[in-house]
C-alpha cells in the first residue's frame, strides 16, 4: 500500500462518517468568525432555535469592516457599525469568545489565530473567509467556507465535504537576495494560473520552503487560494514548534512535549502518492509584480507587460485585453519606473511583524516620495504593539509613513481606506481584482520589500537596487 500524504493523515482523523455515494461528515476543530460573513449564520441558528454546538471551538474578531484610525471612537459608517455591533451581540447571545475592537488580541482573523497559539499542527479549521488557507502553514487543513457552512459548523461542528485531490509543489534551493515568500507564491500562481489549483489541496515542500519562517510560510499558504486551491499546507517542523511554543493558547510544559511528539508524525510518507506534483528552483525566482486583474497575471519586476498575441484562445485573449485596459497598460510596457501614488502594506498576506521589519530595513534612513500616500496597517493589535516595542515606528515615521490601526483596510476597501479610481497602488495584499481596493482602483501585488522600494522612489522599483 502506498504511503499517506500529510493531507490524508489529517483528513482521515477528522472523518466522523461517510454518506454512501455522498460527501463525508468532516469534523472541524476550530472555527474563526468575523463580522461580515457570520450575521446570517447566527440568524439561521435563531430561526431554528438551536445553540452553538461547541462554543469553546469558536473564536471571533471584527476585521473586515473596521476603521484603521481612531478605533476608540464609535464607528462612523452606520452600516459598518451595525455589523460590528451585531457580531458583539451574537457572541454575547451564543457565548462565544470575542476579541472586539480595542481588545489587545483584536486583528485580522488569520493573523490573530496563529499568534495566539490557537492554530496548531494537525487541526482542521474553517472561517467564512477564503484566506483561511493561511493556517495551513502550521500543518493544518484550513479552508474558507460560505455563510451556510458557517452556520453548519456553528450548529454541529461538522461540514459535509468531498475529499479534494492532492498536489505537491516543491521549491528547492536558496532564494536570491531581495526575493521573499510573497515572490515565491506570485511566481507559482503566474506559472500555474489563477485556476490551476482548483479541486486540489496543495502541500508546499522542498528545501526553500523548509528554510522559511512561519510568517513567510503563512504568506504562501494564504495565497494558495489564489490558484483556485481549497487550501495549502506545509508539514510542521522545528520552526513550527518553536513558533507555537509559549503562545497564549499553546499547550504548556509536559503537554507541549506530548503534543510535539504527535505533531512530528505529520508529514507525507516517502512513498505517498499525489494527484499532481511540480518542482521549481528558488534561484529562478525574481521579485514579482502583477500587471493585470487576477493574481496569475504576474511577472518578474524587470520584465515587460506580456503580449496578448501569444494567447491562442479567443476568450482568453479578450479577457487578457480587458484586464490590460482596466489597468491602463499596453503589451510591452516596462513596469519599472511607472509612477505610483499609493502603497499599501497590510492584509492577512503580509501584515505580520516580519513584514514590517523588512519594510523598515528598506526605508531606514530614507524618505518616501512626495507623491506617495502610504497605508501601513498592522495585522493585529499584537503586531501593532511589536512595531512600537521594536522601534520600527520611529524608522517608518522618519521615512514619512503613518502607522494605522489593525484591520483588513485597503485589502478590500470596505472601510474608508480606499484607492481612488484610476490610481495605481502597489499592495502587499492578495487580490488585484477590478475594484478590489476601491471602485476603479488599479492594484499591483508585490512583496513588502517591493512596496517599500516603490514608496521611496514614487515609481515601481526593483528592491534589489536599494538593499
Amino acid at each position: 500500500m502506498a504511503g499517506k500524504t500529510l493531507f490524508d493523515k489529517i483528513w482521515e482523523k477528522h472523518v466522523v462518517t461517510t454518506i454512501p455515494d455522498g460527501p463525508e461528515v468532516f469534523y472541524i476543530d476550530i472555527q474563526y468568525i468575523h463580522e461580515v460573513t457570520s450575521p446570517q449564520a447566527f440568524d439561521g441558528l435563531r430561526k431554528r432555535g438551536i445553540p452553538v454546538f461547541n462554543t469553546k471551538q469558536v473564536v471571533a474578531t471584527p476585521d473586515h469592516n473596521v476603521p484603521t484610525l481612531e478605533q476608540h471612537l464609535p464607528i462612523k459608517n452606520e452600516l459598518s457599525r451595525k455589523q460590528v455591533d451585531q457580531l458583539i451581540k451574537n457572541c454575547a447571545d451564543f457565548g462565544i469568545e470575542l476579541y472586539g475592537l480595542n481588545h489587545p488580541y483584536q486583528g485580522i482573523v488569520h493573523v490573530v489565530g496563529p499568534e495566539l497559539g490557537i492554530t496548531k499542527p494537525g487541526m482542521t479549521m474553517v472561517c467564512g473567509d477564503s484566506h483561511t488557507s493561511t493556517h495551513g502553514a502550521f500543518g493544518c487543513i484550513a479552508f474558507g467556507i460560505g455563510t451556510s457552512e458557517v452556520e453548519q459548523v456553528l450548529a454541529t461542528q461538522c461540514l459535509l465535504q468531498n475529499k479534494p485531490k492532492r498536489m505537491r509543489i516543491n521549491i528547492e534551493g536558496k532564494l536570491n537576495k531581495g526575493v521573499y515568500s510573497k515572490d515565491i507564491i506570485l511566481y507559482l500562481i503566474a506559472k500555474l494560473t489563477a485556476g490551476g489549483g482548483t479541486g486540489y489541496f496543495i502541500e508546499f515542500a522542498g528545501s526553500a520552503i523548509r528554510s522559511l519562517s512561519m510568517e513567510a510560510r503563512m504568506t504562501i499558504c494564504n495565497m494558495s487560494i489564489e490558484m483556485g486551491a481549497r487550501g495549502g499546507l506545509i508539514a510542521p517542523d522545528e520552526t513550527t514548534f518553536n513558533y507555537v511554543k509559549g503562545r497564549k493558547f499553546a499547550p504548556q510544559g509536559a503537554d507541549f512535549d506530548a503534543a510535539v511528539t504527535e505533531w512530528k508524525k505529520l508529514y507525507s510518507d516517502i512513498d505517498a502518492q499525489f494527484d499532481a506534483e511540480f518542482t521549481y528552483e528558488a534561484a529562478d525566482i525574481a521579485p514579482m509584480i502583477t500587471y493585470g486583474t487576477n493574481p496569475g497575471m504576474g511577472v518578474g519586476i524587470s520584465e515587460n507587460v506580456p503580449s496578448a498575441n501569444a494567447i491562442e484562445d479567443i476568450k482568453e485573449r479578450e479577457s487578457f485585453n480587458k484586464a490590460l485596459e482596466y489597468m491602463g497598460f499596453s503589451s510591452g510596457d516596462k513596469l519599472i519606473g511607472k509612477p505610483i501614488n499609493y502603497v499599501f502594506v497590510g492584509s492577512c498576506t503580509n501584515a505580520r511583524i516580519e513584514d514590517f521589519r523588512i519594510v523598515a530595513d528598506v526605508v531606514r534612513g530614507r524618505k518616501k516620495a512626495d507623491n506617495v500616500k502610504a497605508y501601513i496597517v498592522p495585522g493585529s493589535k499584537q503586531v501593532e504593539k511589536q512595531i512600537y516595542d521594536e522601534g520600527i515606528d520611529k524608522v517608518l515615521e522618519a521615512a514619512g509613513f503613518q502607522i494605522r490601526q489593525p484591520g483588513c483596510s485597503a485589502c478590500l476597501a470596505m472601510n474608508d481606506d480606499k484607492v481612488p479610481a484610476g490610481e495605481y497602488c502597489v499592495s502587499t495584499s492578495n487580490r488585484n481584482f477590478e475594484g478590489r481596493q476601491g471602485q476603479g482602483a488599479r492594484t499591483l501585488l508585490a512583496s513588502p520589500a517591493t512596496a517599500a522600494a516603490t514608496a521611496i522612489n514614487g515609481y515601481i522599483s526593483d528592491v534589489r537596487e536599494l538593499i
Binding site: 473586515h64 451556510s148 461538522c158
Partner: protein, 194 residues
C-alpha cells in the same frame, strides 16, 4: 431550501473568464446582516457607472437577453468565499449558472442556495455562447434528475455531473443542517473517542 427539478429558459451570456466574486458583488455591498436584496447590486460595477447610470455595453443591461440561466466564462466565481455572490445571482432571478470551470467555494455556496452550477465542456460552453449571442431567444433545457443540459431547438445536449447527495438535496430542497442534526449522536460519539 427551494426545490429544483428542471427548467426551460432563455439565458444571459457573460462571456468573460475568471469572473471573481468581487465583480459579482463588490465588497462595499457586504454590510448587510440579512440575505435579501443582493440582486440589485449583482455585477454592480459592470452594470453601472459611478454616477449610477447603467452601462449600456454590459450584457445585463441589454434588453434582448434575459432568463433564468446565467452562462459564464471559465473559472467562474473565483476569489472570495462570500456567499453573497450566490445570493446575488439567485436574488436577481437566476436558477442555474453554467461554465466550463467553477471555483470550489462558489460551487458549494451555489448548491447551498438552490442555485445549480453546471460544468460543461469548453466546446459545449462555446456552443452555448454562440447560440445565445446569435439568437437571444434560444431556449435551453436543464434537467437535474436526468443530469443533462440541452439546446432545445437543435437537441444538442451534454450530460453533467453532480454528487448524488447534493442532487437529492437540490431536488427535495433538503438542507445540510437538518441532515447533520439528525446524526448529532454520531458526532458526539466521535468527539468522545478522539
Amino acid at each position: 431550501m427551494e426545490k429544483f427539478q428542471s427548467l426551460i429558459s432563455t439565458a444571459v451570456p457573460v462571456s468573460i473568464e475568471n469572473i471573481d466574486t468581487d465583480q459579482i458583488i463588490p465588497a462595499r455591498f457586504l454590510k448587510a446582516t440579512t440575505r435579501d436584496g443582493f440582486g440589485e447590486n449583482l455585477f454592480r460595477d459592470w452594470r453601472y457607472n459611478t454616477d449610477n447610470t447603467p452601462k449600456t455595453d454590459f450584457i445585463l443591461n441589454d434588453k434582448r437577453f434575459s432568463g433564468k440561466i446565467l452562462v459564464g466564462g471559465k473559472n467562474f466565481g473565483c476569489g472570495s468565499s462570500r456567499e453573497h455572490a450566490a445570493w446575488a445571482i439567485h436574488d436577481y432571478g437566476f436558477k442555474v449558472v453554467v461554465s466550463s470551470f467553477f471555483a470550489d467555494i462558489f460551487k458549494n455556496n451555489a448548491l447551498n442556495n438552490s442555485l445549480l452550477p453546471i460544468t460543461v465542456s469548453p466546446e459545449f460552453l462555446q456552443k452555448l455562447f454562440t447560440a445565445i449571442e446569435s439568437n437571444p431567444t434560444t431556449d435551453i433545457k436543464v434537467d437535474l434528475p436526468e443530469q443533462y443540459i440541452q439546446l432545445v431547438a437543435t437537441g444538442e445536449r451534454e450530460s453533467f455531473e453532480i454528487n448524488a447527495y447534493k442532487k437529492e438535496c437540490m431536488i427535495n430542497g433538503y438542507d445540510n443542517i437538518d441532515y447533520l442534526l439528525s446524526i448529532e449522536d454520531k458526532i458526539k460519539e466521535y468527539e468522545k473517542q478522539r
